[in-house]
Amino acid sequence: MRSDRNQKTPLGLKIAAGLGLIFLHAPILLIFVYAFTTEEKSYQWPPPGLTTQWFAVTWNRPDVWEALSLSVRVAAISTAIAVVLGTLCAAAVSRSKFFGRETVSLLVILPIALPGIITGIALRSAFALTDIPFSFWTIILGHATFCVVVVYNNAVARFRRTSGSMIEASMDLGADGFQTFRYVVLPNIATALLAGGMLAFALSFDEVIVTTFTAGQQQTLPIWMLEELIRPRQRPVTNVVAMVVVLVTLLPILLAYYLTRDGDQIAGSGK
Protein backbone atom coordinates (compact mmCIF):
# COMPACT_ATOMS: atom_id res chain seq x y z
CA MET A 1 0.00 0.00 0.00
CA ARG A 2 1.45 3.32 -0.96
CA SER A 3 1.23 5.86 1.77
CA ASP A 4 2.44 8.98 0.04
CA ARG A 5 -1.03 10.46 -0.32
CA ASN A 6 -1.46 11.90 3.13
CA GLN A 7 2.01 13.15 3.72
CA LYS A 8 2.67 16.68 4.83
CA THR A 9 4.37 18.96 2.35
CA PRO A 10 7.65 20.41 3.57
CA LEU A 11 7.27 24.15 4.09
CA GLY A 12 10.42 25.03 2.16
CA LEU A 13 9.18 23.16 -0.91
CA LYS A 14 5.81 24.90 -0.71
CA ILE A 15 7.46 28.32 -0.59
CA ALA A 16 9.89 27.56 -3.42
CA ALA A 17 7.12 26.19 -5.65
CA GLY A 18 4.91 29.18 -4.84
CA LEU A 19 7.65 31.66 -5.62
CA GLY A 20 8.31 29.82 -8.87
CA LEU A 21 4.68 30.17 -9.89
CA ILE A 22 4.67 33.87 -8.99
CA PHE A 23 7.79 34.29 -11.14
CA LEU A 24 5.91 32.64 -14.02
CA HIS A 25 2.76 34.72 -13.76
CA ALA A 26 3.53 38.15 -12.33
CA PRO A 27 5.12 39.53 -15.53
CA ILE A 28 2.06 38.65 -17.60
CA LEU A 29 -0.27 40.24 -15.05
CA LEU A 30 1.84 43.38 -15.10
CA ILE A 31 0.96 43.87 -18.78
CA PHE A 32 -2.67 44.33 -17.78
CA VAL A 33 -1.79 47.23 -15.47
CA TYR A 34 0.37 48.93 -18.07
CA ALA A 35 -2.45 48.88 -20.63
CA PHE A 36 -4.24 51.44 -18.46
CA THR A 37 -1.36 53.75 -17.58
CA THR A 38 -1.47 57.46 -18.42
CA GLU A 39 2.31 57.60 -18.84
CA GLU A 40 3.30 57.86 -22.49
CA LYS A 41 7.03 58.35 -22.65
CA SER A 42 8.50 55.81 -20.24
CA TYR A 43 7.80 52.55 -18.44
CA GLN A 44 7.34 54.31 -15.12
CA TRP A 45 6.15 52.30 -12.11
CA PRO A 46 3.83 52.85 -10.30
CA PRO A 47 1.68 54.35 -13.09
CA PRO A 48 0.96 58.03 -12.41
CA GLY A 49 -2.69 57.55 -13.32
CA LEU A 50 -5.11 55.15 -14.99
CA THR A 51 -7.11 55.69 -18.17
CA THR A 52 -8.96 53.70 -20.83
CA GLN A 53 -8.28 56.15 -23.66
CA TRP A 54 -5.57 53.95 -25.24
CA PHE A 55 -8.11 51.31 -26.17
CA ALA A 56 -9.87 53.82 -28.41
CA VAL A 57 -6.55 55.02 -29.86
CA THR A 58 -5.55 51.44 -30.65
CA TRP A 59 -8.95 50.70 -32.16
CA ASN A 60 -8.45 53.54 -34.65
CA ARG A 61 -4.99 52.48 -35.81
CA PRO A 62 -5.18 50.97 -39.32
CA ASP A 63 -1.68 49.43 -39.10
CA VAL A 64 -2.73 47.33 -36.09
CA TRP A 65 -5.79 46.07 -37.94
CA GLU A 66 -3.79 45.20 -41.05
CA ALA A 67 -1.24 43.26 -39.04
CA LEU A 68 -3.97 41.49 -37.13
CA SER A 69 -5.81 40.52 -40.29
CA LEU A 70 -2.65 39.17 -41.93
CA SER A 71 -1.86 37.14 -38.80
CA VAL A 72 -5.33 35.64 -38.66
CA ARG A 73 -5.30 34.71 -42.36
CA VAL A 74 -1.85 33.15 -42.13
CA ALA A 75 -2.75 31.23 -38.98
CA ALA A 76 -6.03 29.95 -40.45
CA ILE A 77 -4.49 28.61 -43.67
CA SER A 78 -1.41 27.19 -41.92
CA THR A 79 -3.65 25.46 -39.39
CA ALA A 80 -5.78 23.93 -42.13
CA ILE A 81 -2.68 22.53 -43.90
CA ALA A 82 -1.19 21.34 -40.60
CA VAL A 83 -4.40 19.54 -39.57
CA VAL A 84 -4.52 17.58 -42.83
CA LEU A 85 -0.82 16.69 -42.90
CA GLY A 86 -0.57 16.00 -39.16
CA THR A 87 -3.61 13.73 -39.10
CA LEU A 88 -2.47 11.72 -42.12
CA CYS A 89 0.95 11.28 -40.60
CA ALA A 90 -0.42 10.33 -37.17
CA ALA A 91 -2.82 7.81 -38.70
CA ALA A 92 -0.04 6.18 -40.69
CA VAL A 93 2.41 6.06 -37.81
CA SER A 94 -0.04 4.72 -35.26
CA ARG A 95 -1.83 2.11 -37.35
CA SER A 96 1.11 0.10 -38.52
CA LYS A 97 4.77 -0.54 -38.05
CA PHE A 98 6.75 0.07 -41.19
CA PHE A 99 10.29 0.62 -42.26
CA GLY A 100 11.33 4.20 -41.56
CA ARG A 101 8.60 4.84 -38.98
CA GLU A 102 11.03 6.39 -36.52
CA THR A 103 12.41 8.57 -39.30
CA VAL A 104 8.97 9.89 -40.13
CA SER A 105 8.23 10.87 -36.53
CA LEU A 106 11.67 12.48 -36.27
CA LEU A 107 10.95 14.39 -39.49
CA VAL A 108 7.75 15.80 -37.99
CA ILE A 109 9.40 16.85 -34.74
CA LEU A 110 12.56 18.29 -36.27
CA PRO A 111 11.17 21.71 -37.30
CA ILE A 112 10.30 22.43 -33.68
CA ALA A 113 13.29 20.67 -32.10
CA LEU A 114 15.85 22.75 -33.95
CA PRO A 115 15.95 26.42 -32.94
CA GLY A 116 13.55 28.60 -34.91
CA ILE A 117 16.36 30.60 -36.39
CA ILE A 118 17.63 27.51 -38.23
CA THR A 119 14.23 26.84 -39.75
CA GLY A 120 14.10 30.51 -40.67
CA ILE A 121 17.51 30.85 -42.25
CA ALA A 122 17.09 27.48 -44.00
CA LEU A 123 13.89 28.63 -45.67
CA ARG A 124 15.52 31.97 -46.44
CA SER A 125 18.46 30.22 -48.15
CA ALA A 126 16.09 28.02 -50.10
CA PHE A 127 14.09 31.02 -51.32
CA ALA A 128 17.33 32.77 -52.29
CA LEU A 129 18.60 29.72 -54.21
CA THR A 130 15.34 29.14 -56.08
CA ASP A 131 14.56 32.86 -56.57
CA ILE A 132 11.16 32.61 -54.92
CA PRO A 133 10.03 36.14 -53.97
CA PHE A 134 8.63 36.77 -50.49
CA SER A 135 4.86 36.71 -50.30
CA PHE A 136 1.88 35.70 -48.20
CA TRP A 137 2.55 32.11 -49.27
CA THR A 138 6.17 32.03 -48.17
CA ILE A 139 5.00 32.88 -44.65
CA ILE A 140 2.49 30.04 -44.82
CA LEU A 141 5.13 27.62 -46.08
CA GLY A 142 7.14 28.20 -42.91
CA HIS A 143 4.23 28.27 -40.48
CA ALA A 144 2.53 25.12 -41.75
CA THR A 145 5.83 23.24 -41.47
CA PHE A 146 6.24 23.77 -37.74
CA CYS A 147 2.50 23.58 -36.97
CA VAL A 148 2.26 19.96 -38.21
CA VAL A 149 3.91 18.70 -35.05
CA VAL A 150 1.29 19.96 -32.57
CA VAL A 151 -1.57 18.42 -34.55
CA TYR A 152 0.47 15.25 -34.95
CA ASN A 153 1.19 14.99 -31.20
CA ASN A 154 -2.46 15.34 -30.27
CA ALA A 155 -3.69 12.98 -32.97
CA VAL A 156 -1.10 10.30 -32.16
CA ALA A 157 -2.06 10.38 -28.48
CA ARG A 158 -5.72 9.90 -29.38
CA PHE A 159 -5.09 7.17 -31.96
CA ARG A 160 -3.15 5.30 -29.31
CA ARG A 161 -6.25 5.27 -27.11
CA THR A 162 -8.65 4.38 -29.91
CA SER A 163 -8.95 0.64 -30.23
CA GLY A 164 -8.27 -0.86 -33.64
CA SER A 165 -11.00 -3.45 -33.13
CA MET A 166 -13.64 -0.75 -33.60
CA ILE A 167 -12.43 -0.16 -37.11
CA GLU A 168 -12.47 -3.89 -37.80
CA ALA A 169 -15.96 -4.18 -36.35
CA SER A 170 -17.17 -1.40 -38.60
CA MET A 171 -15.71 -3.08 -41.66
CA ASP A 172 -17.14 -6.47 -40.59
CA LEU A 173 -20.57 -4.90 -40.39
CA GLY A 174 -20.28 -3.89 -44.02
CA ALA A 175 -19.10 -0.30 -43.95
CA ASP A 176 -16.55 0.60 -46.57
CA GLY A 177 -13.34 2.42 -45.75
CA PHE A 178 -14.79 5.87 -46.26
CA GLN A 179 -17.86 5.18 -44.15
CA THR A 180 -15.66 3.79 -41.41
CA PHE A 181 -13.59 6.93 -41.48
CA ARG A 182 -16.61 9.22 -41.47
CA TYR A 183 -18.70 7.44 -38.81
CA VAL A 184 -16.16 5.64 -36.61
CA VAL A 185 -12.68 7.16 -36.83
CA LEU A 186 -13.56 10.83 -37.19
CA PRO A 187 -15.92 11.10 -34.19
CA ASN A 188 -13.24 9.43 -32.10
CA ILE A 189 -10.44 11.78 -33.04
CA ALA A 190 -12.45 14.96 -33.64
CA THR A 191 -11.80 16.63 -30.29
CA ALA A 192 -8.10 15.81 -30.47
CA LEU A 193 -7.92 17.37 -33.93
CA LEU A 194 -9.79 20.42 -32.70
CA ALA A 195 -7.40 20.79 -29.80
CA GLY A 196 -4.38 20.31 -32.05
CA GLY A 197 -5.81 22.78 -34.53
CA MET A 198 -6.30 25.42 -31.88
CA LEU A 199 -2.79 24.99 -30.57
CA ALA A 200 -1.46 25.19 -34.12
CA PHE A 201 -3.42 28.41 -34.57
CA ALA A 202 -2.00 29.86 -31.37
CA LEU A 203 1.51 28.81 -32.37
CA SER A 204 1.25 30.39 -35.80
CA PHE A 205 -0.49 33.52 -34.49
CA ASP A 206 2.39 34.13 -32.11
CA GLU A 207 5.35 33.10 -34.27
CA VAL A 208 7.99 35.72 -34.91
CA ILE A 209 11.42 34.13 -35.37
CA VAL A 210 10.72 32.15 -38.54
CA THR A 211 8.41 34.85 -39.86
CA THR A 212 11.09 37.53 -39.90
CA PHE A 213 12.98 35.39 -42.43
CA THR A 214 10.02 34.57 -44.67
CA ALA A 215 7.85 37.69 -44.64
CA GLY A 216 9.71 40.31 -46.62
CA GLN A 217 7.97 43.66 -46.12
CA GLN A 218 4.71 42.33 -44.71
CA GLN A 219 3.85 42.70 -41.06
CA THR A 220 2.13 40.05 -39.02
CA LEU A 221 1.05 41.14 -35.56
CA PRO A 222 4.17 39.71 -33.85
CA ILE A 223 6.39 41.48 -36.39
CA TRP A 224 4.49 44.70 -35.74
CA MET A 225 5.14 44.23 -32.02
CA LEU A 226 8.80 43.47 -32.60
CA GLU A 227 9.15 46.71 -34.55
CA GLU A 228 7.55 48.60 -31.68
CA LEU A 229 9.88 46.92 -29.21
CA ILE A 230 12.98 47.91 -31.13
CA ARG A 231 11.80 51.41 -32.14
CA PRO A 232 8.89 52.42 -29.89
CA ARG A 233 6.54 54.89 -31.54
CA GLN A 234 3.56 54.94 -29.23
CA ARG A 235 4.19 52.84 -26.14
CA PRO A 236 0.62 52.83 -24.77
CA VAL A 237 -0.68 51.31 -28.02
CA THR A 238 1.88 48.52 -27.71
CA ASN A 239 0.70 47.93 -24.13
CA VAL A 240 -2.89 47.55 -25.27
CA VAL A 241 -1.98 45.24 -28.16
CA ALA A 242 0.12 43.12 -25.80
CA MET A 243 -2.81 42.75 -23.42
CA VAL A 244 -5.19 41.80 -26.22
CA VAL A 245 -2.72 39.22 -27.56
CA VAL A 246 -2.53 37.60 -24.10
CA LEU A 247 -6.32 37.36 -23.93
CA VAL A 248 -6.65 36.08 -27.50
CA THR A 249 -4.11 33.28 -27.04
CA LEU A 250 -5.54 32.33 -23.64
CA LEU A 251 -8.86 31.10 -25.06
CA PRO A 252 -7.68 28.46 -27.56
CA ILE A 253 -5.26 27.06 -24.97
CA LEU A 254 -7.91 26.69 -22.28
CA LEU A 255 -10.30 25.15 -24.81
CA ALA A 256 -7.66 22.73 -26.06
CA TYR A 257 -7.00 21.73 -22.47
CA TYR A 258 -10.66 20.98 -21.75
CA LEU A 259 -11.03 19.03 -25.00
CA THR A 260 -8.20 16.64 -24.20
CA ARG A 261 -7.99 16.56 -20.44
CA ASP A 262 -9.37 13.05 -19.76
CA GLY A 263 -6.51 10.72 -20.26
CA ASP A 264 -4.79 11.92 -23.38
CA GLN A 265 -1.22 12.92 -23.23
CA ILE A 266 -2.31 16.44 -22.87
CA ALA A 267 -2.52 19.04 -25.55
CA GLY A 268 0.12 21.63 -24.97
CA SER A 269 3.01 19.60 -23.68
CA GLY A 270 4.72 19.45 -27.04
CA LYS A 271 5.10 23.07 -27.97
Binding site: L13, H25, L88, S125, V208, T238, T249, L250
Partner: protein, 321 residues
Protein backbone atom coordinates in the same frame (compact mmCIF):
# COMPACT_ATOMS: atom_id res chain seq x y z
CA UNK B 1 -30.49 -3.76 -55.94
CA UNK B 2 -32.81 -0.86 -55.38
CA UNK B 3 -36.24 -2.42 -55.93
CA UNK B 4 -38.57 -2.89 -52.99
CA UNK B 5 -38.48 -6.68 -53.17
CA UNK B 6 -34.76 -6.79 -52.69
CA UNK B 7 -34.97 -5.07 -49.37
CA UNK B 8 -36.54 -8.09 -47.75
CA UNK B 9 -34.17 -10.65 -49.15
CA UNK B 10 -31.63 -12.01 -46.68
CA UNK B 11 -28.28 -10.31 -47.14
CA UNK B 12 -25.67 -12.60 -48.65
CA UNK B 13 -23.01 -13.85 -46.27
CA UNK B 14 -20.29 -12.60 -48.54
CA UNK B 15 -20.91 -9.14 -49.83
CA UNK B 16 -20.61 -8.62 -53.56
CA UNK B 17 -17.66 -6.66 -54.81
CA UNK B 18 -18.33 -2.98 -54.29
CA UNK B 19 -19.04 -0.87 -57.31
CA UNK B 20 -18.12 2.67 -58.28
CA UNK B 21 -14.81 4.42 -57.78
CA UNK B 22 -15.41 4.79 -54.09
CA UNK B 23 -16.09 1.07 -53.67
CA UNK B 24 -13.12 0.02 -55.73
CA UNK B 25 -10.83 2.32 -53.78
CA UNK B 26 -12.23 1.15 -50.48
CA UNK B 27 -11.69 -2.50 -51.41
CA UNK B 28 -8.21 -1.82 -52.71
CA UNK B 29 -7.23 -0.13 -49.46
CA UNK B 30 -8.56 -3.08 -47.49
CA UNK B 31 -6.72 -5.66 -49.57
CA UNK B 32 -3.50 -3.70 -49.78
CA UNK B 33 -2.96 -1.85 -46.51
CA UNK B 34 0.49 -0.85 -47.78
CA UNK B 35 -1.13 1.20 -50.53
CA UNK B 36 -3.26 3.12 -48.04
CA UNK B 37 -0.24 3.62 -45.81
CA UNK B 38 1.75 4.94 -48.73
CA UNK B 39 -0.99 7.35 -49.76
CA UNK B 40 -1.38 8.60 -46.19
CA UNK B 41 2.32 9.17 -45.74
CA UNK B 42 2.88 10.75 -49.11
CA UNK B 43 1.56 14.30 -48.46
CA UNK B 44 3.21 14.93 -45.06
CA UNK B 45 6.50 13.32 -46.03
CA UNK B 46 6.54 15.16 -49.33
CA UNK B 47 5.82 18.50 -47.62
CA UNK B 48 8.34 18.08 -44.83
CA UNK B 49 10.86 16.44 -47.11
CA UNK B 50 10.74 19.11 -49.77
CA UNK B 51 10.07 22.22 -47.71
CA UNK B 52 12.02 21.42 -44.61
CA UNK B 53 14.77 18.97 -45.45
CA UNK B 54 15.16 20.68 -48.81
CA UNK B 55 15.66 23.99 -47.03
CA UNK B 56 18.18 22.49 -44.64
CA UNK B 57 20.15 21.28 -47.64
CA UNK B 58 19.89 24.72 -49.18
CA UNK B 59 21.29 26.09 -45.93
CA UNK B 60 24.19 23.68 -45.99
CA UNK B 61 24.83 24.42 -49.64
CA UNK B 62 24.80 28.19 -49.05
CA UNK B 63 27.39 27.82 -46.30
CA UNK B 64 29.83 26.48 -48.90
CA UNK B 65 29.29 29.47 -51.17
CA UNK B 66 31.01 32.77 -50.55
CA UNK B 67 30.35 36.43 -51.03
CA UNK B 68 32.33 38.57 -53.41
CA UNK B 69 33.77 41.33 -51.25
CA UNK B 70 33.70 43.99 -53.98
CA UNK B 71 30.39 43.43 -55.73
CA UNK B 72 28.53 41.99 -52.72
CA UNK B 73 27.15 39.23 -54.95
CA UNK B 74 27.08 35.61 -53.91
CA UNK B 75 29.46 33.37 -55.85
CA UNK B 76 27.80 30.01 -56.33
CA UNK B 77 30.83 27.78 -56.33
CA UNK B 78 32.19 25.43 -53.70
CA UNK B 79 34.62 26.99 -51.24
CA UNK B 80 35.61 26.71 -47.60
CA UNK B 81 36.35 30.43 -47.38
CA UNK B 82 33.12 31.17 -45.52
CA UNK B 83 33.97 28.65 -42.81
CA UNK B 84 37.38 30.29 -42.63
CA UNK B 85 35.64 33.62 -41.97
CA UNK B 86 33.57 31.94 -39.29
CA UNK B 87 36.68 31.03 -37.34
CA UNK B 88 37.82 34.62 -36.83
CA UNK B 89 38.38 35.59 -33.21
CA UNK B 90 35.37 37.93 -33.10
CA UNK B 91 33.07 35.18 -34.30
CA UNK B 92 34.50 32.59 -31.93
CA UNK B 93 33.80 35.11 -29.16
CA UNK B 94 30.14 35.19 -30.19
CA UNK B 95 29.94 31.40 -30.17
CA UNK B 96 31.59 31.11 -26.77
CA UNK B 97 29.35 33.81 -25.29
CA UNK B 98 26.22 32.09 -26.56
CA UNK B 99 27.22 28.65 -25.31
CA UNK B 100 28.11 30.05 -21.87
CA UNK B 101 24.77 31.82 -21.66
CA UNK B 102 22.93 28.66 -22.75
CA UNK B 103 24.69 26.62 -20.07
CA UNK B 104 23.99 29.20 -17.34
CA UNK B 105 20.35 29.47 -18.36
CA UNK B 106 19.98 25.69 -18.34
CA UNK B 107 21.47 25.35 -14.84
CA UNK B 108 19.30 28.14 -13.45
CA UNK B 109 16.19 26.65 -15.05
CA UNK B 110 16.90 23.32 -13.38
CA UNK B 111 17.14 24.99 -9.96
CA UNK B 112 14.00 27.10 -10.36
CA UNK B 113 11.97 24.34 -12.04
CA UNK B 114 12.71 21.57 -9.56
CA UNK B 115 10.50 22.68 -6.65
CA UNK B 116 7.55 23.35 -8.96
CA UNK B 117 7.92 20.03 -10.77
CA UNK B 118 8.46 18.11 -7.56
CA UNK B 119 5.51 19.68 -5.80
CA UNK B 120 3.24 19.06 -8.80
CA UNK B 121 4.40 15.47 -9.21
CA UNK B 122 4.35 14.34 -5.59
CA UNK B 123 2.07 16.51 -3.48
CA UNK B 124 -0.52 18.10 -5.74
CA UNK B 125 -3.66 15.99 -6.13
CA UNK B 126 -6.93 16.25 -8.03
CA UNK B 127 -8.02 19.82 -8.62
CA UNK B 128 -4.66 21.22 -7.51
CA UNK B 129 -2.84 19.02 -9.96
CA UNK B 130 -4.92 20.33 -12.86
CA UNK B 131 -4.37 23.86 -11.62
CA UNK B 132 -0.63 23.36 -11.46
CA UNK B 133 -0.63 21.93 -14.94
CA UNK B 134 -2.50 24.94 -16.30
CA UNK B 135 -0.27 27.28 -14.31
CA UNK B 136 2.72 25.93 -16.23
CA UNK B 137 0.92 25.58 -19.55
CA UNK B 138 -0.49 29.10 -19.75
CA UNK B 139 2.86 30.93 -19.51
CA UNK B 140 4.32 28.38 -21.92
CA UNK B 141 1.74 29.22 -24.54
CA UNK B 142 1.31 32.93 -23.97
CA UNK B 143 2.86 35.10 -26.59
CA UNK B 144 6.63 35.00 -26.60
CA UNK B 145 6.95 38.66 -27.55
CA UNK B 146 4.52 39.78 -24.89
CA UNK B 147 6.60 37.94 -22.29
CA UNK B 148 9.76 39.64 -23.50
CA UNK B 149 7.94 42.97 -23.53
CA UNK B 150 6.73 42.43 -19.96
CA UNK B 151 10.35 42.06 -18.88
CA UNK B 152 11.31 45.21 -20.68
CA UNK B 153 8.75 46.96 -18.49
CA UNK B 154 10.02 45.22 -15.35
CA UNK B 155 13.73 45.74 -15.93
CA UNK B 156 13.53 49.35 -17.14
CA UNK B 157 15.37 51.86 -14.98
CA UNK B 158 12.09 53.54 -14.03
CA UNK B 159 10.32 50.15 -13.77
CA UNK B 160 8.88 48.04 -10.99
CA UNK B 161 12.08 46.25 -9.99
CA UNK B 162 13.99 49.45 -9.22
CA UNK B 163 10.91 50.69 -7.33
CA UNK B 164 10.81 47.45 -5.33
CA UNK B 165 14.50 47.67 -4.44
CA UNK B 166 14.14 51.28 -3.32
CA UNK B 167 11.09 50.45 -1.17
CA UNK B 168 13.13 47.72 0.51
CA UNK B 169 16.09 50.10 0.90
CA UNK B 170 18.19 47.71 -1.15
CA UNK B 171 19.06 50.09 -3.96
CA UNK B 172 22.75 49.88 -2.99
CA UNK B 173 22.61 46.14 -3.77
CA UNK B 174 21.19 46.69 -7.25
CA UNK B 175 23.68 49.48 -7.99
CA UNK B 176 26.53 47.34 -6.67
CA UNK B 177 25.51 44.49 -8.94
CA UNK B 178 25.19 46.76 -11.96
CA UNK B 179 28.66 48.23 -11.40
CA UNK B 180 30.22 44.77 -11.74
CA UNK B 181 32.04 44.06 -14.99
CA UNK B 182 30.45 41.76 -17.61
CA UNK B 183 27.15 41.08 -15.77
CA UNK B 184 26.49 44.77 -15.01
CA UNK B 185 25.50 47.74 -17.15
CA UNK B 186 23.65 51.03 -17.09
CA UNK B 187 20.40 49.37 -16.09
CA UNK B 188 19.20 45.79 -15.86
CA UNK B 189 17.53 46.02 -19.26
CA UNK B 190 20.87 46.62 -21.00
CA UNK B 191 22.94 44.06 -19.10
CA UNK B 192 23.72 40.36 -19.44
CA UNK B 193 21.95 39.86 -16.11
CA UNK B 194 18.76 41.08 -17.75
CA UNK B 195 19.25 38.81 -20.78
CA UNK B 196 19.86 35.89 -18.46
CA UNK B 197 16.73 36.49 -16.35
CA UNK B 198 14.51 36.77 -19.41
CA UNK B 199 15.94 33.60 -20.98
CA UNK B 200 15.30 31.67 -17.76
CA UNK B 201 11.79 33.06 -17.55
CA UNK B 202 10.82 32.32 -21.12
CA UNK B 203 12.17 28.75 -21.26
CA UNK B 204 11.29 27.68 -17.70
CA UNK B 205 8.06 25.81 -18.60
CA UNK B 206 10.02 23.72 -21.11
CA UNK B 207 12.10 22.49 -18.19
CA UNK B 208 9.24 21.96 -15.74
CA UNK B 209 7.15 19.68 -17.96
CA UNK B 210 9.63 16.87 -18.72
CA UNK B 211 11.04 17.13 -15.21
CA UNK B 212 7.60 16.64 -13.74
CA UNK B 213 6.96 13.70 -16.09
CA UNK B 214 10.16 12.03 -14.84
CA UNK B 215 9.41 12.76 -11.18
CA UNK B 216 5.89 11.31 -11.52
CA UNK B 217 7.51 7.99 -12.27
CA UNK B 218 9.62 7.94 -9.10
CA UNK B 219 7.69 5.77 -6.64
CA UNK B 220 7.05 7.57 -3.35
CA UNK B 221 7.97 4.53 -1.28
CA UNK B 222 11.50 4.65 -2.65
CA UNK B 223 11.95 7.97 -0.93
CA UNK B 224 10.39 6.64 2.26
CA UNK B 225 12.64 3.61 2.10
CA UNK B 226 15.62 5.88 1.81
CA UNK B 227 14.68 7.85 4.91
CA UNK B 228 13.73 4.66 6.77
CA UNK B 229 17.22 3.43 6.13
CA UNK B 230 18.56 6.53 7.82
CA UNK B 231 19.31 8.92 4.98
CA UNK B 232 18.88 12.61 5.66
CA UNK B 233 16.60 14.52 3.25
CA UNK B 234 19.74 15.94 1.67
CA UNK B 235 21.20 12.48 1.11
CA UNK B 236 17.89 11.21 -0.27
CA UNK B 237 17.80 14.09 -2.70
CA UNK B 238 21.32 13.61 -4.03
CA UNK B 239 21.42 9.79 -4.02
CA UNK B 240 17.85 8.74 -4.83
CA UNK B 241 15.70 11.50 -6.22
CA UNK B 242 18.14 13.28 -8.49
CA UNK B 243 19.54 10.21 -10.28
CA UNK B 244 15.99 8.98 -10.96
CA UNK B 245 14.87 12.38 -12.23
CA UNK B 246 17.97 12.87 -14.36
CA UNK B 247 16.50 11.69 -17.69
CA UNK B 248 13.74 14.28 -17.33
CA UNK B 249 16.22 16.99 -16.43
CA UNK B 250 18.34 16.17 -19.45
CA UNK B 251 15.26 16.17 -21.67
CA UNK B 252 14.29 19.61 -20.38
CA UNK B 253 17.82 20.88 -20.80
CA UNK B 254 17.68 19.97 -24.48
CA UNK B 255 14.94 22.57 -24.87
CA UNK B 256 16.47 25.30 -22.71
CA UNK B 257 19.90 24.84 -24.29
CA UNK B 258 18.74 24.65 -27.88
CA UNK B 259 16.28 27.53 -27.57
CA UNK B 260 18.89 29.80 -25.99
CA UNK B 261 21.42 28.92 -28.69
CA UNK B 262 19.09 29.98 -31.46
CA UNK B 263 17.33 33.00 -30.00
CA UNK B 264 18.09 36.43 -31.39
CA UNK B 265 15.18 38.50 -30.18
CA UNK B 266 15.74 38.45 -26.42
CA UNK B 267 19.39 39.61 -26.50
CA UNK B 268 18.42 42.26 -29.05
CA UNK B 269 15.67 43.75 -26.90
CA UNK B 270 17.11 43.14 -23.45
CA UNK B 271 20.87 43.06 -23.35
CA UNK B 272 24.12 44.66 -24.35
CA UNK B 273 25.32 45.39 -27.84
CA UNK B 274 27.55 42.33 -27.83
CA UNK B 275 26.13 39.74 -30.22
CA UNK B 276 24.81 36.20 -29.78
CA UNK B 277 24.81 33.52 -32.52
CA UNK B 278 21.20 34.20 -33.46
CA UNK B 279 21.83 37.93 -33.85
CA UNK B 280 24.91 37.24 -35.95
CA UNK B 281 22.87 35.02 -38.27
CA UNK B 282 20.15 37.63 -38.51
CA UNK B 283 22.39 40.60 -39.21
CA UNK B 284 24.54 38.66 -41.71
CA UNK B 285 21.54 37.67 -43.81
CA UNK B 286 19.79 41.01 -43.42
CA UNK B 287 21.84 44.17 -43.39
CA UNK B 288 25.11 42.56 -44.51
CA UNK B 289 23.42 40.44 -47.19
CA UNK B 290 25.97 37.73 -46.56
CA UNK B 291 23.76 34.65 -46.65
CA UNK B 292 26.71 32.21 -46.87
CA UNK B 293 28.20 33.44 -43.59
CA UNK B 294 24.76 33.49 -41.97
CA UNK B 295 24.30 29.88 -43.08
CA UNK B 296 27.70 28.86 -41.74
CA UNK B 297 26.83 30.52 -38.42
CA UNK B 298 23.56 28.58 -38.30
CA UNK B 299 25.45 25.32 -38.75
CA UNK B 300 27.16 25.93 -35.38
CA UNK B 301 24.04 25.39 -33.22
CA UNK B 302 23.10 22.39 -35.36
CA UNK B 303 26.46 20.77 -34.63
CA UNK B 304 26.34 21.66 -30.93
CA UNK B 305 22.80 20.33 -30.61
CA UNK B 306 23.77 17.19 -32.52
CA UNK B 307 26.47 16.47 -29.95
CA UNK B 308 24.13 17.36 -27.11
CA UNK B 309 21.38 15.06 -28.38
CA UNK B 310 23.85 12.25 -28.85
CA UNK B 311 24.97 12.59 -25.23
CA UNK B 312 21.38 12.94 -24.02
CA UNK B 313 20.42 9.77 -25.84
CA UNK B 314 23.17 7.88 -24.08
CA UNK B 315 21.80 9.13 -20.76
CA UNK B 316 18.30 7.85 -21.60
CA UNK B 317 16.68 11.25 -21.88
CA UNK B 318 14.36 10.27 -24.71
CA UNK B 319 12.50 7.74 -22.60
CA UNK B 320 11.31 10.68 -20.51
CA UNK B 321 9.83 12.75 -23.32
Amino acid sequence: MSTAANQYRAAPAILPAASGIRGVLSDAFWRKPKLLLFLMLLPPVLWLGVVYIGSLFALLLQSFFSIDEYSGLIKREFTLKTYGDLLQAANLDIILRTVTMAAAVTLASIVVAFPIAYYAARYARGRWKALFYLAVMLPLWSSYLVKVYAWKLILAKEGILTWLFSKLNLLWLLDGWLSLPIVGGNSLSVSFTGTFIVFVYVWLPFMILPMQAALERVPGNLIEASSDLGASPRQTFWNVLLPLALPGIVAGSIFTFSLTLGDYIIPQIIGTSRLFIGQAVYSQQGTAGNIPLAAAFAVVPIVIMGLYLWMAKRMGAFDAL
